[in-house]
Each structure stands twice: as C-alpha cells, then as structure tokens.
Amino acid sequence: MKRSARALAALLVSGLALTACSSSGSGGSSDESGAPAASALDQASGVTTVEFWHSMTGKNAEALTALVNQFNAAHQGKIEVKPLFQGTYDDLIAKYKASVQQKATPAVVQVYDIGTRFMIDSKQTVPAQAFADKDGLSLDDLQANIRNYYSVGGKLQSMPFNSSMPLLYLNDDAFKEAGLDPAKPPTTLAELGDMAKKLTKKDDSGKTVRYGFGAAIYGWFVEQLLAENGALYCDAENGRSGKAGKVAFDSAKGAEIVQWWADLVKGGYAANTGRQTPDAQAAFKAGTVAMHLESTGVLRGYTEAAKFTVGTAPFPKTAADDQGGPIIGGASLWISGPGHSDAQKRASWEFEKFLTSPEQQAAWHTGTGYFPVNSKALEVPADKEWLGKFPQFQTAIDQLKATKPTTATAGCLLGVMPQARKGVETAIEQTIAGTKTAQQALADAAKELQPAIESYNSSVG
C-alpha cells in the first residue's frame, strides 16, 4: 500500500514537473547539464520538500538530525528536508533500486563509497560538478583525496559527506605490559605480526587471554592494504580510465596479505571474530585484542567505552617500500535528476552545500569521528579545541594529508564492488580454514565474480 501511495505521489510530482517544464519555456533554468540555477528556487511557490535517504545510526544519526534541523530552520517556509533512515548501506541500495523502478526516487540519497559506479550507471542523478559549474563555485576546499575518490573524468559526481579512513588501533596499556612502546607502533604487516606474537598473552592453563591482533573479516581492509602497496584492485586503472572488466586482487600481493592474516589466526596470535564488525569491536573494547583495524568513524565510541588508553597509528603498509596510501571510505550524497522539479534539485544542492561547509563539517567531525570533507573545517576553533582534547584523531588527519591522490588510492570503481568485497571475505575464510591456499582462494573468488561483472557491464551497455 505504501509503495503504491509513493508511486502515486511520484506520478503527481512528475506530472507537476512536466507541466512546470512546459510552462516555463522562457524562464527555463535547467540546461543539458541537468543543474538548475538558483532562480529555480525563487520561482517555486510554497515549501519545496527534499526527501533525504540515509543510513546513519546512533551518535551519527543524532549529529545528522541536528544538522538537518539547523538547515530547515534557516530555510523555513522555503525548503524542508525530510530525513528518512533506510537501514544499512546495502539495504538502502536495495530500496533505491526499487524506487527507480517505481519512478519515485528520493531527492537526495546517501550511498556508500563502493556504490559510486552503480550510481553513475543508474543515470538517475545530476553530478555535483554540474551545480558547481552553474554557480561558478570552486570545489578546491574539498579535501583532495576525497574529491579524487568521487570524481570521474575530473568531474565531481557526488558530494562527499561522511568520509572515513582505516586506522590501526592500539591498546596502549597492553603495549606497556608487554614491554613495547605504543609510540612506536608497527608500520608494516611483518612488524605487526612480530608484535602480535609479543602481545599475545596466555594464562597458566595455556588459554589465550589476549590476542595480539584482531579485526573483522572485512574485505575493505584488503582493499586498503593493496592501495597502501600502490596496487590496483581492478583493471582499466581501477575503473577510472574506463569500465573495469576484471578484478586484480588475485595477485601475488593479494595472496601475501590474505596468507599473512590467516597465518596469524592459525598461529593463535589473532582472534577470528568472523565477518561481523560489532564482534571484532567488542573484542578490542574488552581488551582481548591488542591491535585492531577499524575505521576512524568508531574512534569516539572507543575512547568512551574502553577501560584502557586507546592509541591510534597509521594503517600498516604491506612492506617498508610501499608507495601508496589508504583509500577513502564512507559515503557521499547524490542528487536525483529524472522525476524531480528544478526547485527540488536546487534545494537538494543547497542542502549539500550546507552540509559540507566548514562549520557544519566541524560539527560533523567532532560529533561522529568522520573525517571533515572540507579542509577548512579543521580551522574552525571548535574543531581545533576538540583535536587538542583527542590527539588520537590527529593520526587520521596526518595520514590523509600524507596520501598522494593516485589511481590506486582513489580506489576501484566497479559496478559489482560489494560482491567483489564479499568474494575476498570468503577467500580469507577459506584460507583460515585451510581448505584452500590464499592464491587459490583469491583466484577462485575472481573467477566466480567474472560473470557478475560481465552481466553488470552488459546491462549498463
């Protein structure tokens, strides 16, 4: 019932949009780029509603609601943004696909990093660059690496909003107890493995009470390690110079990384908490894991929950001579084109500009732990003060600044990226279980993924 009601609403809206288009022949503000000028909003009568789909929960949802309320208050009587929580990023994509079929897309939608290729191929959106060009707005304030991730052909496709990076988290107390200096964290996988052995602690009965290392079996970390090495994850320059037709994670480097992980688990130096991120987080917070890989987005939660000093270190490299760096994670905001009025598109853009301005990004950064996408946010006094209080956050900022934007650190654009990630996770599990070698498991994952890539590419045409 709800669906049909929404479809009906969409029909009405698109009908209105049609009449609006035909009647506004003279004042037509939308050109072939699809981005209407600021006048679109002035010409609109009444309140323009912007339906906004997102996947934020907990503290992050609170911070987002505060920002939305602030925006709505500033645009009272003109624009009203209606945030709608749609479940996890994966759930949201599934619902978004249904909304495209029913021609009832939300005006603004938050999509995870690895959904970028799909969103471009969906042809349902207006690139952020089109709006910026229309306004003559410079996008230079956007952090270079983040901008790099969401740009295709030098054009910004969507507005980055919540950006995160992976970090190496440390239990400083455990380091000291094992006679190690938390100020000298491991920088390579080999060093990490050695320290994990020293940090692993057993009780008298031989039971492990603390593992040296532990992270969720999450394909994202393998993507990150390959990027640290400067290696590409898929062909066509990580899908940046054209459509990727093959994955490249089944390389010797990929196998080395997966084998390293499995060996630590098999040797009893790493806890295997499975794929579920909350389980791995719980193990670190409980002190049963001394070193841990996670996103910057959880740092605030960690510092509040853990009974030990939480340290942060740059994400490890695969070897000392690695030339790459980590990839941006998180999500960006897309503005819908087809089926939406010029006023709606324009209102959506105003909302995105608001969310990514320095003040708001500073509030977002301090309220959540996501990296500020606007470099100017770091100059906001509140942000500076907060960094003084939580020096652990400086690690992520330094790490991002030190990363040169390249095709490797831009990350792979692939329509079936979520499935690729899942394939790598299965390969890690198989290597840990010993049913396959790392090389074999990755090769099988790549082979299994191939039909999905081909069918995706052929359906996009």
Binding site: G214, A271, T273, A282, T288, V416, K422, Q430
Partner: protein, 303 residues
C-alpha cells in the same frame, strides 16, 4: 409454499451463491493479491534477465534453472539446507517430547516448569539471535568462558565452518522448543483420562506407558510438529542473518538465505536467479510436505 423436499427456487439459489461469494470475497482478494499474484510474478521473474535496478529485461527461458543445476555453490546450498532441517527438526521434536513426558511424572512445580519450557515461544527470532550471538562470541562469549574452566580451547562457534551450522541449529531448536512443548502439552492433555487409567490398571507405567499409550496417542500432535518444523526450518532466515550472514565460507547459507543474497544483499539485484531459487524452494517444501503426508500420516493414529 414448497415443501422441504422440493428443490429451492433458482432465484434463491443465486441469492445464496451471491451471499457465499460476498463472504468469500475478502479472503479471495487477499489470497489473490498476496499469494497468487506474487507466485505468478516469481515464475515470470525466474524466466527473465534483470536490468541494473532488478527490473525484468529480456526473456531467458529456463536459463536461470539450468545455471542453478550446474552450479556447485547451489548444490552446497541444498545440502546445507537439508542438514539444517535434519539438525533442527529431529532434536527439536524429540527434545520437546522428552520434556513433556518427563513432566508427566509427578514432579513438584510442574506448572512452573511447563511455563518455563514454553517461554522461548515468547521470544522473537531477532532478540533470541542477539542473545545467542553473545553466548557464541569467540573472544568474550559465555560458552568459551565455560569451556576454558574445564580446560578446553576456544571454539569458533560461528566462525568455524565445522560448527557454525550446528550452532545456528541449536539456537533454532531453543527458539522452537516453546512452541513444540505447548503443542505436545496440549496433546497430552487431550488424551482421554480413561485410556490412561485403563492402561495403569493393566499395570503399565513409566516407559511402557509412554511407549504404548502416550506417544501413539500423541501421533497427530507429533505429525503436526514434524510438518510445521520442517517448513519452518526450510524458511528460517532471521537467525542466519543475525548470527552468520550465511558464512563462514557459505557454510550456513540455506536456500532462503541464498534467495536473499541474490536478490538484495551486497548490492546485488539478481531477481531472476533469486526467483528461480525461490521456485526450487517451493518445490522442496511441497515435496517434503507431500512425502510427510503420504508416508508419516499413515502411521498416525487419530483418536
């Protein structure tokens, strides 16, 4: 005035039929809308390829089905599904039967026990699964904590592909236990008192009474539970989704979970393959139920 034996007038018959249809209409509409239409749609989708958004694009005939037959992954899924049914239905029904029979003995506080055993029925799958995930946590879970006291190493309850399916089966058995106990308790309550009394007068008690009287008289309830538990096991989703998401290495991916993965998970919208799997699932459920009715029901004694 026509006599009672004469046929009713055509007009009145039409009126009765009309009335009957009017009463049936709501259920027919609901049935058509939520059962018949989706079923037809599933068949339709299973014969079509999908565009980027999961909408049916071109007709591909039986391709999705033949692809499934040749897929090693899908065969594993079928085996996993069969094992899951076996691991949940047999111990679930037998366990409940044992509990109910034990409660037949004159124990103090049997009312309390009966309520306690029926309690899992009040838990939703989601909340029960979350509780079990805490039990099973490899690093801080209760189960591994208990094991370490007797000097046994930690077990990857949900992260080791050898144990994961059994762990989920155990949680499922617990969730179903309440319902099973309720049904069997009601079944025992409806065994005529005189039958039991006659058997006791003949000197039967304990095991003999259970074997010859109670269990056979429970036949209809047991049969009902076996059928319902099998269908439930085949359709289990929540506990798998919350505890393992089908992993590790696909070892807990049952048919229903596979349908979900293909259609919705990991940004996939392969509704064609998912629908074909859903049709296979429907056939499996139909076959299981038919076999149960054909074979088992003959042995059931209806009082």
């Amino acid at each position: 005035m026509p006599t009672a034996s004469s046929p009713p007038e055509p007009r009145r018959r039409f009126g009765e039929h009309g009335l009957a249809w009017a009463f049936l209409l709501p259920s027919v509409v609901v049935f058509a809308l939520f059962i018949i239409y989706p079923l037809g749609r599933t068949f339709y989708l299973s014969a079509h390829a999908n565009d980027l958004f999961g909408a049916p694009s071109k007709y591909v005939g039986m391709k999705h089905y033949t692809d499934l037959l040749s897929s090693a992954d899908f065969r594993t899924t079928l085996v996993t599904t069969a094992l899951f049914v076996l691991f949940t239905v047999v111990p679930g029904v037998l366990g409940a039967l044992l509990l109910v029979l034990l409660m037949e003995g004159r124990i103090r506080g049997v009312r309390f026990l009966r309520s306690a055993f029926a309690l899992p029925f009040a838990f939703s799958v989601a909340s029960a699964s979350v509780v079990f995930s805490v039990f099973y946590n490899p690093a801080s879970g209760v189960l591994n904590g208990l094991l370490s006291h007797v000097g046994l190493g930690p077990v990857g309850w949900l992260t080791d592909s050898q144990y994961a399916l059994i762990s989920i089966a155990v949680s499922t058995i617990w969730m179903n236990l309440g319902y099973n106990v309720l049904v069997l308790s009601a079944g025992i309550g409806s065994i005529p008192g005189e039958v039991l009394e006659a058997a006791r007068l003949d000197g039967a008690s304990g095991l003999r009474l259970a074997r010859s009287i109670t269990v056979p008289m429970l036949g209809p309830s047991l049969f009902f539970l076996v059928v319902i538990s099998t269908v439930n096991a085949l359709q289990s989703f929540g506990q798998i989704h919350i505890l393992t998401k089908g992993g590790p290495d696909g070892s807990t991916r049952t048919l229903v979970y596979s349908v979900y993965e293909k259609a919705f998970a990991y940004g996939s919208s392969d509704f064609g393959t998912a629908s074909a799997q859903a049709v296979v699932l429907m056939v499996v459920v139909l076959c299981c139920t038919a076999v149960q009715f054909g074979v088992l029901e003959r042995k059931v004694h209806y009082a």
